[in-house]
């Protein structure tokens, strides 16, 4: 079935994209072999579509049609535009205040736009490109491997041009967030990035990934993957933000492995882009590790926003909490898919997942699909999903107190989203998320 479907124009077009890009992709020898195999895997499957269960509500053949050519290596003019966009984002408070930025322009790391020096001795940052190009590093090919067979991730492995590889030494407490900023400067082009984050034992860190497009950069496709290991007793506040580019397509995948007693607070925030999918795969691999995964998805016009969360409890005594909220206006489409997997050994697992969608127009659509997949017998797990309109009784109460219809709606939407946003532990990150949500609400016509 898939073989038949992949014999389409889009399938052939992407072959050309890979062939054309090949000269620019880092890593020779074994790395090139891994890329070629990844591309073959992608080509067999093609873009995911509705008959692939994991992509049932986000059919990329319909939403993306095809993969656009790789964005060219940014020249001086592109870097100047990116610099201006980064500066502008700071002025408009679209960047996290005080964060040390690592900037990727059209899929290529830009040292001049980044604040590496400010990160200090205990944080090592290299580019993915330099690691892949280093023949002395025998394990370099592993950076392109993940445990999933998802076609978009295979495509990412095949096409990736750059990323950052961050290692934080045991016991480090980072005093400022690290923000990986992806800037798109070209139109009708794609970028493929992959970053690694390794937090040693007891590390305390806050990390943000965000995506922006410079003015005039239209119809950009980004495919990003971040692979994170949270060391023993380490604590990570991780925020994924998609704000910019009304016609952008963003496919982001996050892989997180938690060692014993590690804590991850993950927040995904989507309030921009024509098509966005954030898929997070979290493995609770060490006993006593804790996950709190939350997020908000704000869609309007004809935007499509998908959050997919796979929580894998592998060992006993781990806790996971997930709380997602969506506000859907106009003809927007919000998707939440979540699964808690409890492996046979993962006794005493405590897992809960809740998703709620607020439908703000008659044509708004929300698909909520939380699932449990439990193979152990001594666990506490639960999930729930709800969608509905704003409560008329609450709206009337507020209006009877003098709030206009829009003000009353905004206050109630804010309260609805606030219950998820409050879960962000880092104050700077929380305030940033509140501001972005307020902005989205303020732009409601």
């Amino acid at each position: 079935m898939n073989l038949v479907l992949s014999k389409t124009d889009s399938g052939r077009a992407v072959s050309n994209v890979f062939v054309k890009a090949n000269g620019r992709l880092p890593g020779a020898g074994s790395v090139a072999d891994i890329r070629a195999r990844a591309f073959e895997a992608y080509k067999r499957a093609g873009l995911p579509h509705r008959r692939i269960e994991e992509w049932k509500y986000t059919d990329l053949r319909v939403l993306m049609h095809h993969v656009l050519p790789l964005a060219p290596q940014p020249d001086a003019a592109a870097l100047a535009r990116a610099r201006a966009a980064v500066a502008q984002a700071a002025v408009e408070k679209r960047a996290v205040e005080g964060a040390a930025k690592l900037v990727l322009v059209d899929g290529v790391f830009s040292p001049n736009l980044s604040d590496i020096a400010e990160l200090g001795q205990s944080v090592n940052v290299r580019t993915l490109r330099e690691v892949l190009d280093d023949p002395a590093n025998e394990g370099r090919g592993d950076l392109l491997l993940t445990t999933t067979t998802d076609a978009v991730i295979s495509l990412n492995a095949a096409m990736v041009t750059d990323g950052v590889v961050i290692t934080v030494t045991d016991g480090t407490e980072l005093c400022r967030p690290i923000q990986i900023v992806h800037v798109a400067t070209t139109s009708s082009a794609s970028s493929f990035t992959r970053s690694h984050l390794r937090l040693g034992k007891g590390v305390q860190a806050a990390v943000v990934e965000s995506f922006v497009a410079v003015e005039g950069a239209r119809n950009h496709q980004a495919n990003d993957a971040v692979i994170v290991s949270v060391g023993e007793a380490a604590n990570l506040d991780h925020l994924h933000v998609m704000v910019g580019g009304a016609d952008a397509t963003n496919i982001s995948s996050g892989f997180f492995v938690l060692e014993a007693s590690a804590k991850l607070k993950l927040f995904s925030m989507n309030c921009g882009g024509a098509v966005s999918r954030y898929q997070a795969f979290i493995t609770l691999a060490g006993e006593g590790s804790e996950l709190s995964a939350n997020g908000i998805n704000l869609v309007r016009d004809k935007q499509h926003g998908d959050t997919t969360l796979i929580v894998d409890h592998v060992v006993p005594h781990c806790t996971s909490r997930a709380n997602f909220r969506a506000a859907v206006d106009d003809r927007g489409h919000s998707v939440f898919q979540g699964r808690i997997i409890v492996r046979p050994d993962a006794q005493k697992t405590d897992g809960r997942m809740m998703t709620r969608a607020l439908l703000l127009s008659d044509e708004a659509e929300a698909d909520n699909k939380p699932e449990l997949d439990i193979c152990a017998d001594d666990v506490t797990c639960g999930h729930g999903a709800a969608s509905g309109a704003l409560d008329e009784a609450l709206l009337f109460y507020l209006r009877a107190r003098g709030l206009s219809e829009k003000e009353a709606q905004a206050l109630l939407i804010q309260a609805f989203l606030g219950e998820a946003i409050e879960e962000i532990a880092d104050r700077t990150l929380r305030e940033f998320a509140i501001l972005q949500a307020e902005r989205w609400l303020g732009a409601r016509g």
Binding site: R401, L403, L411, L412
Partner: protein, 250 residues
């Protein structure tokens, strides 16, 4: 000029007519009690004056200082000085009471072309009023009415009344769910707001409340219209004889 004039008001909900030609005139400074059995249309009247959706006005009019109230959105009515103290104040999780009070007050002031309250002035005012109503400060930090007792919810309504300084207060079954001490605190709060410029319409099923908030006029409603009007002594009379006589007559 009368503050509120309800003239021959007819109201339907879905296919049922609830009010059949109700008239009522309220002047500044007056306190009117509206009494009547369950289902007589008392709450419908309060909802229609405040602008709650779901009611169809099929005849008559409501004038507020001579202006057509039915043409205004609920928030415009609030800004003009109409205040409904709800029988069942709703709980709004996630909206802190303080933030709500301030947003509402400033929205009303803005609609009237007045300047917004400064933070110190606002806080001072809230503190004064909440103290007189025996509302602890930590209650104001919680979500609007979330986890409040029946008495606390009603006091929160009166707190808003005191802050917004409306010219017409409609109290819908303020006594429901209150014990005698809570009722006294609430009534004291209301009495403190009586003034020559401000009118009140007190809707109640029981005479008891009117021992604390003494009305100038008492209207008896039955089956969707006012069937008898008198002074405060009418309430006492009803306490003895009940509403049955009016239900048969109407």
């Amino acid at each position: 000029m009368a503050l509120l004039e309800v003239k021959d008001l007819q109201v339907r909900v879905e296919d049922r007519e609830i009010l059949h030609g109700l008239s009522l005139t309220v002047n500044p400074g007056e306190v009117h009690a509206i009494m009547g059995p369950n289902g007589s249309g008392k709450s419908t009247l309060s909802h229609v004056i405040a602008g709650k959706p779901g009611y169809e006005v099929t005849g008559g009019q409501i004038l507020f200082r001579g202006e057509d109230l039915l043409e205004m959105a609920p928030d415009e009515r609030a800004a003009k000085g109409v205040f409904l103290a709800f029988q069942y104040p709703v709980e709004i999780p996630g909206v802190a009471t303080m933030n709500f009070l301030r947003t509402a007050l400033n929205a009303q002031r803005k609609a009237r072309g007045e300047s917004e309250y400064s933070t110190p002035d606002f806080l001072k005012k809230v503190r004064e009023v909440s103290k007189s109503l025996n509302i602890p400060q930590d209650m104001l930090k919680r979500g609007v009415n979330v986890g409040f007792s029946g008495g606390e919810k009603k006091r929160n309504e009166i707190l808003q009344m005191a802050l917004f300084e409306p010219s017409l207060c409609i109290l819908d079954e303020m006594d429901s769910g209150l014990d005698i001490d809570a009722l006294r605190i609430a009534a004291d709060g209301v009495n403190a707001l009586r003034s020559p410029e401000r009118a009140m319409v007190v809707i109640t099923h029981y005479q008891r409340l009117l021992n604390y908030i003494v009305p100038d006029f008492v209207h008896v409603m039955a089956k969707g219209s006012v069937v008898k009007t008198g002074g405060k002594e009418l309430a006492l009379e009803l306490e003895g004889s009940g509403y049955a006589q009016f239900e048969h007559a109407a």
